[in-house]
């Protein structure tokens, strides 16, 4: 009787899918860093991060999500405070001030805030009286999601900031915004696009233009996109074999263990490998949708769906970049890319889904 309860409460398929993605990522990271001086043991580091992330995720999963929701605003406020701290005391890596040194490890608060944003937004949506997003609720959502996004954009880490957009859109959609508002917003965005274009930095404009025409500047901005597409395409059906990707190992592929890790998989494991990763990712998202449907209350539903929005957005931006449909923006592929904080964040995210799923029969 007790054993059955435990198994029921543990969302095994979701956890297996997430861990499977992380293990595929580990192999790809090992291959991607094998020839990079001083980075050859990075996959072991990632293994340690996975252990840490799993432990944290276990805690997130075991503690009832209603309790997490109680502390949601506080956690989110703490996260925003960390983002302010990053701007004040952070460490700059590659032009972005997005890291905080915590003892021996560097920590990216922006990844953690993605998680608290989902939690706080779900708590907000589930507690409101009117289940329709109008002006007031809309502004409240902007405050919850837009504040960290603006702080991250200030780092300036445009990629991570961009991942808050799907969460925001998801919150509006799931919160019950009326379609006429959506339409109106779309018109406003369309009208404001030229203004926004004027505010972009020249290199950002170049990146966007390069997506439309990859041959625009094959040696400069177009280079990364082009090399990624060559890596993916040259993998063909079955790939060149693990650890045998030339684009990867000869360093033609940029950021091959982080943002372009899927290109490594596609090159070395071919279409089969890339499709496999897509299927696993879809499965994790699907499990989120299942958990949302089976949830006994709105909080669980919102929580699962917002995490799904977060993962979907981040996945779409990353893969879009790898196959050359999106500008080059530094966004990791959930579970697969190298990065400790990012891994902890997505594992905690998937833990929320499992948490919701696990508590479907409670009370």
């Amino acid at each position: 009787m007790l054993r059955r309860r435990l198994l029921d409460r543990l969302d095994v398929p979701t956890i297996v899918a997430a861990l499977g993605l992380a293990l595929v990522g580990m192999l790809a990271i090992a291959s991607a860093t094998a020839e990079q001086p001083g980075r050859a043991s990075l996959w072991q580091t990632q293994l340690v991060w996975l252990a840490i992330a799993s432990t944290v995720a276990l805690v997130v999963m075991t503690v009832d999500y209603h309790i997490w929701a109680e502390f949601a605003l506080g956690l989110h406020a703490a996260g925003v405070a960390l983002l302010v701290a990053v701007l004040l005391f952070g460490k700059a890596v590659g032009g972005n001030r997005s890291w905080l040194d915590v003892g021996p490890v560097a920590f990216q608060p922006s990844e953690f805030v993605k998680w608290t944003t989902c939690l706080a937004t779900a708590a907000f949506l589930s507690k409101r009286v009117h289940n329709r997003v109008r002006l007031v609720q809309g502004l409240q959502l902007v405050a919850i999601i837009g504040t960290p996004m603006a702080l991250i954009a200030k780092q300036p880490d445009m990629g991570t900031a961009l991942t808050f957009v799907p969460i925001f859109l998801g919150a509006m959609l799931l919160g019950g915004i009326q379609w006429r508002w959506v339409l109106g917003a779309a018109v406003v965005v369309a009208l404001l696009t030229p203004v926004g274009w004027g505010h972009l930095k020249p290199y950002q404009r170049e990146r966007i233009l390069t997506v439309a025409n990859p041959d625009r500047d094959p040696s400069g901005v177009g280079y990364q996109v082009r090399q990624s597409k060559i890596a993916v395409g040259s993998g063909r059906v079955t790939g060149k074999g693990l650890f045998k990707g030339t684009q990867n190992r000869l360093n033609f592929l940029p950021a091959q263990h982080t943002d372009f890790v899927l290109a490594v998989i596609a090159e070395e494991l071919g279409f089969i490998g890339a499709a496999g990763v897509l299927v696993l990712l879809y499965y994790v998202l699907y499990r989120g949708l299942v958990a949302a449907r089976s949830s006994q209350d709105r909080l669980g539903t919102y929580l699962s769906l917002l995490v799904v929005c977060w993962f979907t957005g981040q996945t779409a931006i990353n893969i879009g970049m790898v196959v050359g449909l999106m500008p080059t923006i530094g966004v990791p592929l959930p579970f697969v890319s190298y990065g400790g904080t990012a891994l902890i964040a997505v594992m905690c995210g998937v833990a929320l889904i499992a948490n919701v799923r696990g508590h479907r029969f409670v009370n």
């Binding site: 959609l173 597409k229 040259s234 030339t246 033609f252 879809y282 979907t312 996945t315 879009g320 196959v323």
Partner: protein, 631 residues
């Protein structure tokens, strides 16, 4: 409906809406991920082969390995042209940063103009980045040291090994061996078999050009796996090993070649010395020359223009491409024609009074008082014009033309150097065809003493006199040892040749070319003067400015009895052949017969010097005797 029912209805509606919107989210996810799956399908399966090729092109660099050009040797295996290692200063374009700053520093440290470098770097932007920009070719160690001392200023500047053509004797071999250079568009178009490509070094003139296919070799290549920085990675795949050019042995004798160039000194002119029995060229020079080494590295525009625009035209190979009136040297051929055609016999005589009226016009002999009664021998030895005016009139132009053609006058000799010209043959048909003018009888009279319309190249005269020397066979002059062809026996009687050879020996013995005397070795030859301007006729050369003087000829061979070497020399505006051209021949012959001549006296007296001086005293020029002005 009470409040509670309304609330429950609203709750139900929002529940339904949330469910619909969750489904919308699900649909979005499926569309996006299916789209990505389709994109992977397109990239990996539809376009996979193309991208595989692109990945291979990324990875594999085809590194060209140039062949080493064949060495050119002289007849004694001394090196005339070889390839030496050299160092180039290059700017590595792979991962190049701060190019401007580095080039500006190069300008300040080495004085290489910044703008030029920048322009060439810009011009290279479509080339693969692993090809570096060559900043300076054949750089000296001092310049490398300047760069190395400031290493941190020049992160992208490297020294690259290369090979350059090297001519150890420089100007001395310029016109015989020629020079090499980077292949140009027209040559690329001409040799379309893919054996040469942009950037290859090919022969541009002389032997280098004539035997380019032998000397060039075939470039090879290898495939090297490189990383994104262009650094080699792992092992390279074998491609094709370059085939080095084959060595070429010439008939040139480097010592004679040097002596000839030194003997011509500052004169404008040319000389060709060859073995009259085979046509093997021993020395071939044209002055002023140029240093073929300047062409090995890309020639700067100014250097090139100064060579092209030099009024003395140093790039011209005068020995094969300049043609002049042969002057009295043509009398050799006239005599052969006269004797062979039967117009005269060895015992024919003419009375020379210093001038003769032919076709109603007076023609002068060079000797004002006349030669008196002269025979065939005397006419040739003393170069009596009147004798040949009358001989020419008797034979007519067609007979002269027939024998000139037989001896290759006005025809190319087939020497294996590109650029040989024909000159103007003594032919009525030729004049009518090219000048559209009839042949006048007076033209024949002018041609009879080697003036007028007739123009010949030095190599033609060398071939003609070789035939006299070797007993009547026409040889083909050549510089490559393997290029000799069998001499063609001409229908000329031995008796005729004996008369000529006897007279030619006396020309040096007692006639116009005493300055060519060589002690125990008897030299035979004939001087000549090619009129440049009418006004020079009958005026002493010393009284004319250099540019107005006639061209001086000397053709001949030695030893007179059993010739081993034949020659033709032209000194432009040299005045009398005997004064300027004959000493050039003597200096070269002296070197040729060095082991058969008594040792030369040295200016500072050694114990034996006085004795030697006495022995050599019989040679007028050695004793410092003033030469008699003579033609």
């Amino acid at each position: 409906m009470d409040y509670r029912e309304r609330w429950e209805l609203k709750e139900y509606q929002s529940e339904q809406r949330l469910g619909r919107r969750a489904n919308l989210l699900h649909a979005t996810i499926i569309v996006v991920l299916t789209g990505f799956l389709g994109m992977f399908w397109y990239l990996q399966i539809v376009k996979g082969v193309d991208y595989e090729l692109l990945a291979e092109n990324n990875r594999l660099r085809r590194i060209t390995m140039p062949p080493t050009r064949g060495v050119v040797f002289d007849r004694h295996d001394a090196i005339l042209a070889s390839t030496r290692p050299a160092l180039n200063l290059v700017l590595v374009r792979e991962g190049l940063q701060d190019a401007d700053a580095q080039m500006k520093r190069l300008e300040s440290v080495l004085g290489i103009p910044y703008q030029g470098m920048k322009d060439r770097l810009t011009a290279m932007h479509r080339r693969p980045t692993f090809e570096p920009l060559v900043i300076k070719e054949d750089v000296q160690l001092a310049d490398i040291a300047k760069v190395e001392a400031r290493r941190e200023w020049f992160p992208s500047v490297e020294v690259e090994e290369t090979a350059l053509r090297d001519y150890p004797d420089g100007p001395a071999v310029a016109h015989a061996v020629g020079y090499v250079g980077e292949v140009n568009e027209s040559q690329l178009a001409k040799i379309a078999d893919g054996s040469i490509q942009q950037g290859d070094i090919v022969g541009k003139s002389g032997i280098e050009r004539q035997y380019d296919e032998v000397l060039r070799g075939r470039r090879g290549w290898k495939l090297v796996t490189v990383n994104s920085l262009g650094r080699p990675f792992g092992t390279s795949q074998p491609g094709r090993i370059p085939e080095d050019g084959r060595p070429l042995k010439l008939t040139i004798d480097k010592t004679l070649q040097r002596t000839l160039v030194e003997a011509l000194a500052d004169e404008v002119g040319s000389g060709i010395f060859m073995d009259p029995r085979t046509g093997a060229v021993l020395a071939l020079a044209s002055t002023p020359g140029y240093d073929p080494n300047v062409f090995t590295a890309p020639v700067s525009h100014t250097t090139w223009m100064s060579l092209v625009n030099d009024p003395r035209r140093p790039l011209n190979d005068r020995a094969i491409s300049s043609f002049y009136a042969p002057g009295s040297t043509f009398k050799v051929l006239m005599t052969i024609a006269g004797l062979e055609s039967g117009a005269i016999t060895p015992s024919s005589t003419v009375a020379c009074s210093g001038s003769v009226v032919v076709y109603g016009r007076p023609f002068l002999c060079w000797k004002k008082g006349g030669h008196g009664v002269v025979g065939v021998h005397g006419a040739l030895v003393h170069s009596c014009n009147v004798f040949y005016y009358l001989l020419g009139k008797r034979m007519g132009i067609d007979t002269i033309s027939k024998y000139a053609k037989m001896f290759n006058i006005g025809e190319t000799t087939g020497i294996d150097i590109p650029g040989e010209t024909r000159g103007n043959p003594p032919s009525a048909e030729w004049k009518e065809r090219t000048r559209k003018e009839p042949w006048y009888p007076g033209d024949t009279i002018s041609v009879s003493i080697g003036q007028g319309l007739l123009a010949v190249t030095p190599v033609q005269m060398a071939t003609m006199i070789s035939a006299v020397a070797n007993g009547g066979s026409l040889v083909r002059p050549h510089l490559a040892r393997d290029a000799d062809v069998a001499p063609v026996k001409l229908p000329v009687s031995a008796g005729t040749l004996a008369v000529i050879r006897d007279a030619l020996a006396d020309v040096v013995e007692e006639g116009t070319a005493t300055r060519a005397q060589l002690g125990p070795i008897r030299v035979a030859g004939k001087t000549g003067t090619a009129q440049v301007f009418k006004k020079s006729a009958g005026v002493d050369a010393d009284k004319l400015s250099k540019d107005e003087r006639d061209h001086a000829w000397f053709v001949g061979y030695a030893p007179a009895e059993n010739p081993e070497i034949a020659f033709a020399i032209v000194v432009e505006h040299g005045g009398h052949g005997g004064t300027t051209a004959a000493p050039v021949a003597r200096k070269v012959l002296e070197a040729f017969f060095a082991d058969r001549l008594p040792p030369k006296p040295t200016p500072d007296a050694t114990p034996a010097a006085g004795q030697l001086q006495a022995r050599l005293g019989s040679r007028p020029e050695a004793a410092g005797a003033a030469p008699t002005p003579a033609r």
